[in-house]
Structures are given as structure tokens and as C-alpha cells.
Symmetry: D3
Subunit: 238 residues, 6 copies
């Protein structure tokens, strides 16, 4: 029995609120249950130095957590003067996941910076971030298309992410904080709408796993992402 009473293959309530803030070219407040992340996509007319003059664009991401997004207040990274290893790991993952579905030359020499800021955390902040980031990116790119700044749509397909893990011997989908903190092993899967795996990260904590377990988790991830893909499309008005 899951603490939340959900079935093993049941996602938390999923909502995407597009246009949550008004300045960004694309924005979205994504909720996976009580986990809420504000995502904005900002278009910058300059690419990073290593890409100048190469005729292609770039998509990158930054991640942060408000100090009291969590049960106990964490120190503000700006005040500490550095981003934690965890923060950097997550923002690198978000960036790679988005780039996997973007045709960078079609984007032209511009950069889209996606900011994912966790307003409230209850497990799965990185998977909610990736899933919401696609919506914010989609909205921003649609503006580039509308203004004819890009000729062809640079987004090849959708990308979404979800966590899975073994909780008290059962493989479950979309872990909340209670499950996440006691899971024997868990993983994050980043999938595309056309069925491909973009990233898979599995970690055994306490309890290891094998091929069989890996495939079971992946099956759950496919179920969860199917639901996310549908919600993304609706939020992006497609």
C-alpha cells in the first residue's frame, strides 16, 4: 500500500498552468501532486561563446529551489555563494533532455534558457521540471515561429520525465517524498513521445536491482510519460 493510497502505476494529479508569469517568452507552473515548479523559457539573441558563428542555437537550463520549498528550510544558494553538486547535476540533466528533442541548427543562432524554480517540493522535482520545461519551451518556440524568426519548427518531438522505484518490495510510479526517502532503489527516466529513451538514471540505495527490475521500472515510466505527454499537448494548446 502506498502512503498516498495510489495504485502502483498511478501518477499524482498532474497540472500544467501555461503563462504563469508574464515577462518570459514561455512559462508554465507544473504540479506533480504537491511538487510545484515554476518554469520559464527565455529567448536570448546570443549563443554561448563556444558556439559563436557555428550557425546553430543552444538550449540550456538552470534549476533552483526556494529555501522553504522543503519540510525544513535549506540555505539559500545565493547566500552560500555556490550551487550544490545536486543542483548542478539536475540542471545539466534538464538541459541535455531538452536538447535531445531540439534540432539546434533550425533554432538559428539564439539561446533559450530554461529556468526551473521549485516553489514547493514533495519528491520528483527534477522530473516535474523536465516535463514542465518542454511546455515552456514549446510556447517560446511557437512565438519564434509566429514571428517568422525561425523557418521550420526546431522541436522534433515531446520529452517528459518521471521517477519510478521499489517501495516496500513493489515497483511504483512517480514517487512522492515519503516514498522517495524510503525507497530501496529508484530511477528517473526521460522519454520522448516517439518511444525513445533519452536518459535513464538508476540508483540502488540499500537494495540493488537487476535486468528484470530495470525493465519493470521502465514499463512504469512509459505509462507515466504517456499521461504527461497528453497533458503537455493540452497545456501548449496543440
Amino acid at each position: 500500500m502506498r502512503p498516498s493510497g495510489r495504485a502502483p502505476d498511478q501518477m499524482r494529479t498532474l497540472t500544467f498552468e501555461p503563462g504563469f508569469t508574464r515577462h518570459a517568452e514561455g512559462s508554465c507552473l507544473v504540479s506533480f501532486g504537491d511538487t510545484r515548479v515554476l518554469v520559464t523559457a527565455s529567448i536570448d539573441d546570443k549563443v554561448p561563446p563556444f558556439l559563436r558563428g557555428k550557425g546553430q542555437g543552444w538550449v540550456t537550463a538552470e534549476y533552483g529551489m526556494l529555501p522553504r520549498a522543503t519540510h525544513t528550510r535549506g540555505n539559500r544558494e545565493a547566500a552560500k555563494g555556490k550551487q550544490s553538486g545536486r543542483t548542478q547535476e539536475i540542471q545539466r540533466l534538464i538541459g541535455r533532455s531538452l536538447r535531445a528533442v531540439v534540432d539546434l541548427p533550425k533554432l538559428g543562432e539564439r539561446q533559450i534558457i530554461v529556468d526551473c524554480d521549485v516553489i514547493q517540493a514533495d519528491g520528483g522535482t527534477r522530473t516535474a521540471s523536465i516535463s514542465g520545461a518542454w511546455v515552456a519551451l514549446r510556447i517560446a518556440v511557437d512565438k519564434l515561429i509566429a514571428s517568422k524568426s525561425v523557418a521550420e519548427d526546431p522541436i522534433r518531438t515531446q520529452v517528459a520525465a518521471v521517477s519510478c522505484g521499489i517501495h516496500q518490495g513493489t515497483a511504483v510510479l512517480d514517487l512522492d517524498y515519503d516514498e522517495d526517502s524510503t525507497a530501496g532503489s529508484d530511477g528517473n527516466f526521460v522519454l520522448t513521445a516517439d518511444g525513445a529513451i533519452v536518459e535513464a538514471q538508476l540508483t540502488a540505495e540499500g537494495e540493488t536491482f537487476d535486468e528484470e527490475g530495470l525493465l519493470r521500472l521502465l514499463r512504469l515510466a512509459r505509462i507515466g510519460c504517456t499521461e504527461i505527454f497528453a497533458a503537455q499537448l493540452k497545456a501548449a494548446g496543440r
Copy 2:
């Protein structure tokens, strides 16, 4: 004529949404028009080192702005590795303003840390922060009272803040971004519900002012704060 069509002594639409996030002991999403700040109040059982064993509490504040809260994206302070002078100036002001209405010995040896994170900026983020901070603080302290952690209410009165400035020759209340960026001179007033001035900060940019101008701005500030005080009480359920 103000860009927004408001009368000179008219505040923007004011809303306080208490309990916006679930983990913090007190929280509030405050809006002064399009300026939206998420404020949380976190109770910490330890006081800072300089107060240990002195039989009194402490109230402090931290301030931040999401990178795309503004028209053009700003760099993330956590990524830059330091808080700007502006950020530090604002968070020091918020902390002083709150301490002005709190009886620290009555709070007991505990610290309340108020985090003000700007979700969307349209001028007046520091005054919205102070005004919302009082609500979050009030809610958190009410929990301390309810749990009999404090014997007497340590909050003496309400505190609120509003900006005023000279826009195209007219003294106006609660400047939005368009007014703020073109104002000849402007100021921020922090007032208490019993009529006292806690902080007054006036800066002439381009256009200086005199005693007469100073008093005119202060009169406007009193009008604005009266409206804020009423909204705060309602939001805090008092």
C-alpha cells in the same frame, strides 16, 4: 496622467493569498498589481550566534528574484556566486522593518527567517515584500501562540510599506515599473498601523526635492498603507 490610468493616490490592486505553500509555518503570495512575491516565514529553534543565551529571539529576512521575474532575464545570483548589493540592501531593510514591530524577548530564543522571493516584478518589490512579510510572520507567530510556545503575542502592531514618487511633476502612490524607471525622485516609506514611521528612504534621480515634496510623498504613503493594513488583517484572519 499615469501610464496605468490610476489616480495619483490610487494603489494597484492588492491581494494577499495566505498559505500559498504548505511546508512553511507562515506563507503568503502578495501581489501589488503585476508585482508578485512569495513570502514564507520559517521558525528556527536556534538564534544566531551573537544572541545565544541572551533570552531573546530574532527576526531576519532574505530576498531573491527569480531570473525571469523581470522584462529581460537577469543572472541567477546562486550561479554568479554572490548576492548583489541591491539584494543585500533590500533584505536588510525587510529585516529591520519587521523587527521594529516585534518584541524580541517575548519571542523567546528562536529565530524567524522570512524569505521573500519575487515571482514577477513590476516595480515595488521591496514594499510588497515587507507588506507580505508581515502576513507570513503573523501566521507563523499565531501557530506559536496556538501551541503555547510563546506566552504573550510578540507582535506589537502591523507594519507595511509603499513607494511614492514624483512622476512627470505629480506626486504619485505605489509606482509601477513604467513610473519607477522614469520618476524624477522617489522613496519608500515603512509605516506602522499606529501611525509611526519606521523607515523613510528618499532618492532624487535627476530631480531633487525639498521639505514640501517630502511631506507630500509621506501623505500619499499614509493613504496607501491604510489600505494595506486592512488587507493584511483580512489575510491573516484577524
Copy 3:
């Protein structure tokens, strides 16, 4: 009775020693009683990046305190690796105050950097800094005029600053450390020689104030600045 025996509207002994160091284009050792600040004005032929090619100059300030300028030794900011919020707040105030009396386009595309380093502190280091900074700036600009590097004098008028506060129920001028650390409320006023207010910052610590109190402090500030303006002129050889 003031600890120093001064009358309520009496400044401390005021001295400006121009040319205190030999390398800077302008320099001055300013003393407000036992508070002594070494100010230098350095002319730099480059403007900061945000002003390049805009046909105007810039004036900025940096502030520091020698570790043992104070009663007990403070940590060296260079060793700690960052400037405190207080330091940044003060240097921003000094820069704004100077720019309020400088016609930046007349300065041409160059920057004047004013360094205010507190040799000995006894209250009022920021007001002494601003007052001395004008002298150093004046001397440096006079060299630009003498060498025909600028065609017209970019300095419109004098600027000076002084603190005022309520000490044991009496409004007093130019607080020293003993008064400052016990004042119920105090403020800093930055005024120009032609009677305008450039900055006013008032803070209630313990004791709040009202319009009446504000005006009383401002009246004292005008008395103090009149004395400072005369001394500045003499020091600058005008």
C-alpha cells in the same frame, strides 16, 4: 546633555586636508571629530561596459574600513572574500550622491572612481565620506579643466551629508559613536549647496518618529551641511 558636551545643533570639529596622498588625481583626508576617512578620486579613461559609446561619463565609489578603525578589530573584507551588505549599501549611497551633482555628459567618456577608506571610525563614516568625496572629486575635475580635457565644468554644485538623530529625547546633529549606538532613531541627509535634498534615509531603532520629528532632523541637517559646504570650498581652493 550630549556625551561630548556639544550643543544639539553643533557639528564636531570639521577638517578637510586636501592632497593627502600624492598619486591620486584628487585626494582628501576628511575628519568629523575622531572619524577620519581618506578619500581619493581616480580618473579612468574608460567607462563601464554599460556606458560605452553613449557619450557620457560616470562617477562611482568604493568604501572600506581598515580592520582596526573600530573599537574592536573587524575582519578584513579582502580576507573574508566578500564585502558586507553594509559596505555595499554605503558605497552605492556615496556614488548616487556624487552623481546627483555631476553633469555626466559634460564629463566625457571617462570614469571617476572615488575610494573612501575609513582610517578611524567614531560614527558618521558615510556622511564624512560623502562630504570628503566632493572635495576629492572637485580637485580631480579641476585638473581635467586645467588640462582642457573637459570643456565645461561638469560639477553643478556642492553635495554634503550629515547624520541627525534622537538622543535621549533630543534631536541632535552629527552623531558620534556613543550617540549613534544609543539613538532611538536616526537618519542621514545628503543635501546640495542650492538647498535640495538628494537622499534622506531615516531608521527608527526602538523609537519610531513622525512628520514633526522628520522635519526637526532635516532642519538640523541643513545647519550642519551649511558648515560643511563652507569648509569644502576652502579645502578645494575655491
Copy 4:
């Protein structure tokens, strides 16, 4: 055909040189072909603050790369003043991998810090680090056992890591730099000698993959780790 002429399931030449440095309780120079990493295991009698008094030990890792370990010189992280996101990601992975095979309560209240410094890089520095780290840890723990500082062996089994990827359409084992920089997708697997998966990290760059591909890479990883486990045992004198 692989650039190195190796068969798809062929590891590079594997060597572990135990006792490479004399001060550390355990040390090992591990080579996966031209990738060479110096690993040391240092025993510290204190655990980190979050574990004090909890009756258990800790194993953690730090990772670094000498500036000219690579084809072109990289900046020294100590000179830049911070560790990159990549460095932090890798050292967190090494630490988690080691802790997966250590019974922390049996280690007693002490910490073992494993330093992995890359002397020369040719792809696979994180997998060589993990594989060598087990040897250094084993040697250090054997000293604790010999001196009767621990009663029971806290190391449950061996842990090793290897990379796999799709190079020009073929799944290959233990990618060197040439393969790594052109691979369509690749992953790192951390396995234990008793057959369990501890970590699996797969990333598609350009080319995505599916269940079939994932299992194919995992099969290769098992082949590689079997060879590593044998070499580890020999190096650790078991």
C-alpha cells in the same frame, strides 16, 4: 571497426598498481588503457557532522583531474575557485557506488575519504576511478581489520564500473576518448561482484535507444566487470 582495433566486447588493458603512494592507508594507480587514475583511501577518525553519535561510519569521494591530463590543458579548478558540475557529479557517483557495498555501522564512527585524481585521461575516468577506488578502500579496510580497529569486515562485496555505448551502430565496451566523443549514446554501469546493478546512467546524444539497446549495453557491462573483479582481487592480494 573500433579505432583501437578492439573487439566490441573487449576491455582495454587493465592494470591496478596497489600501494602507489606511501602515506595513504590504501592507494592504487589504476589504468584502463591510457586512462590512469591515482586513487588513495584516507582513514579519518571523525565522521561528518550529520552522522556524529549515530554509531556508524561514512565513505565519501573526491575527484579531480590534473590540468594537463587531457589533450588540451584545462583550467585548474583550485585556481578557478570552484569545482565544475561535472566534477561534483562524478565524485557523488563514486561515493554512492562505494557506500553500496559497505556496511556503514560495521565501519564504526570513522570516515574513509577516497581521492581519485586523474593523471592521464583517455575516456572512462569515472569508471576507472570507481574500479580503482574499491582496491584502495579494500587495502585501507584490511589495515583496520589487521589492527583490530573493526571487528567484522564492513565490505560486503566488490564494486566495479565500466562504460558501454553505441559506436557507429555497434554496441561496444569500455569506450576510449575517440569512441566516447563520437558515440551516439552511452552509459556507465556500476555493478557488484554478486551480480547486482548499483547504478546505471544512460544518455542518448543524437541517437536515442530502447529496452533492447539498454539490455545489450548491460550485457557488455557484465562482461567488462567480470574482468575487472578478477583484477581487483589480485591487486588487493585476495
Copy 5:
């Protein structure tokens, strides 16, 4: 011929102004010609962590240069966020030089922190700092003796420093900036009043030297330090 017209073995005008600032237990403004350094000695009742409970004291030094102490303005180290290698090298040298003449157990468990801040630089700031530091230290320790905080004088003898170098083929004493920036090779000698060498640092820039040259410079240093020792005694009131 030296640019200043001095004889090869002639020091610049030497002055020590004791008690230059009022808060420090010992202070002194030392001038070697146009090089002026403000030195303060602060007594701290705590020793650094590595000496706690060892029954001895400590003497350490910090060094800084005001941004416009030099011909062209240097960046403020506090603003850059770190002390340069040169700064650290100099403050380590000052600390070692002072400790060479202090009997640390006789000082008791307290620390004396000597701050050397360069007001104006014209070559030889480190040697002026060391020479002035002894005076500030002497004054501070005399207060400890007067208040019977220490039983026996912990200062064994005087310490002073001077630079020497080869300028246009001639060995000269106490180089000023003009000589220093063109000297073929130069060195700093730290000597005690009883004739011993505490530190000798020689660097060939362009022109190397041999035993003969080294001894010639050392002879000059003895001449210079003899003059400094006399001036120190007078300044310290001995």
C-alpha cells in the same frame, strides 16, 4: 647616480609616528620616503584553533594596499573577493619576521594581530611594514606589561627590514619605486638588533648575482637597519 640623488648607502627619510590611530592597542604610521604604511597592533584574547590550550600566544599579520596607494589605481581586493598571491606572500613574511623576536609562551594565550595598510606606495612597502610593525607591537606589548597581563617582556629584541638591489650596476640601499622597477636584482633582508638574519629573499630579474653580490647587499642592509633600529626605539619611547 640614483634617481633621487641619494648616496648608494643612504636610506630615504625615515619617520615613525606612534599612536596614529586611537582604538588599536599599538599603532604607528611609518614612512620610508614617500612610502607610507599605517600599522596597528590589536590584542585578541583568543589564540587561533591550532594553539588552543598549548600555553602560548601567537603573532600574525595582515597586509593590504589602498586601491589608489599606487601610480595607477589597483582593484580593491575586497571587491575582487580574494587576496592576491603577492599580498599573501607579504603578510606571511611580516608574521614570520615578528614571531622571530617574540617569545610566544611569555605572551600567554593571546594573539596579537598586526595590520599593515599601505596608504601610499613608492617601493619597499613590505620592509616599511615590518619595521613599523615592530613599533606597533612594542607599544601594544608595553600596555600588557603595564597592566601586568604578562609577567615578563615577551619581545626579545628589535626586528627591522630593508631592501637592497643592483641599480645600473651599483648596489644601493632602500630602493624607491623608480629603482625597484628597473633593478637588475634585488632583495629584502630582515635583521634583528643583535645582528642576526631572520629572513633573506633575493631575486634576480634579468641580472643574476653571486656570493660576492649577496654579501654586498647584506652589508648595505646592515647599514640601513642600524638606522631603523635607532628610529624604532625613539618612536616606541625607549
Copy 6:
């Protein structure tokens, strides 16, 4: 009697292993007994900003110590976020020593960065670094000559360094850690193969010294460097 049983004028076993790593243009693993330093010389086609367009090259050095190179593990400088004063002092010394024997205009507009990383420390890491750095530099420059990138050999002569000190009243050569940590006074000499002194740094710790002592140490340094010069030539294949 020396702890190692060596005669007072006897060096530790000296080895230079050229070509220790494969990517650097020049590399060398130098050992002075148990002190082992990996040195690489990297050729960079850009000179630092202050030399651009001046028609000359530059040679600089960086120094680091692996965390467990020493008896007890030191903190990793990259993790602490800054290089210690000692590290900076040493890398500045290495750079100056190398530049003393290089004709920078003949090098052309390129920079050679020498990295000295201490693998294992047993006293004398800076002297081993300098001595090994010359070998790595020689190898790198020989490649520039072979590829006709430089017309004339920019290296004028050899440079080497060794430490000497007074251990239990006897002047001894090439101190190891046991001697270094108990020596009354010691020094480092950097000499060229044609007999000149490039740098001499002597420090009295506890025990001061005089001209006689200084010359005695220098005589020992000449003996040691003669042996190093011969080994360098052999290692560099000359």
C-alpha cells in the same frame, strides 16, 4: 647524524622520468627521494592579456598537491574554493625561476604553462618542482625547435633548486620532511648551470643565522645543483 643516514652534503636519490604523461608537450616525473612531483609543460598559442602584441612569450607555473600526498590528508584546494598563500608563493617562485633562464622574445608570442603536481611529499616539493620543470620545459621547447616554430633556442641555460638548512647544528643539503620540520633555519636556492644565483630565500625558525651561515648553505646548494644539472641533461636527452 641525519635521520636518513645521509652525509651532510649528500642529496637524496634523484630521478627524472621524462615523458611520464602523453598529452603534454613536455612532461617529467621528478623524485627527490620520496618526494615525487609530476610536471607537465603545455604550450599555449596565446600570451596573457598584458603581453598581447608585444612580440614576446611568457612562461608561468601552477602548483598543487594531491590531498593525500602528505602524512595526513589536506583539504582539496578546489573544494575549498581557493589556493592557499603557500601554494601561490610556490607557483610564483617556480615561474620566476624558469623565466630567469628563458629569452622571452625568442619564444615568440606563445605561453608555456608548467604544472607541478605533488604526488607524494617528503620535503623539498618546491625545489623538486623547479628542477623537474626545467626538464619538462626543455622537452617542450625542443618540440618547438624541431617543428621550426621558434628559430633560435630561447632557453639560455639550466636552472635547478635545492634546499639547505641547519639540522641539529649541522648544515645539511636537501632536507627531507623529518629534517625540515625540526630545522632551526633553512633556505631554498635556485641556481643556474653557469653559476649564478637566481633566487635565495632563507628563513630562520627559532635559530637565526649570519653571513657565515648563509655562505655555508650556499656552498651546499652548489654541490646539490651540480648533481641535479647532470641528471636534468640526461633526462632531457642532451
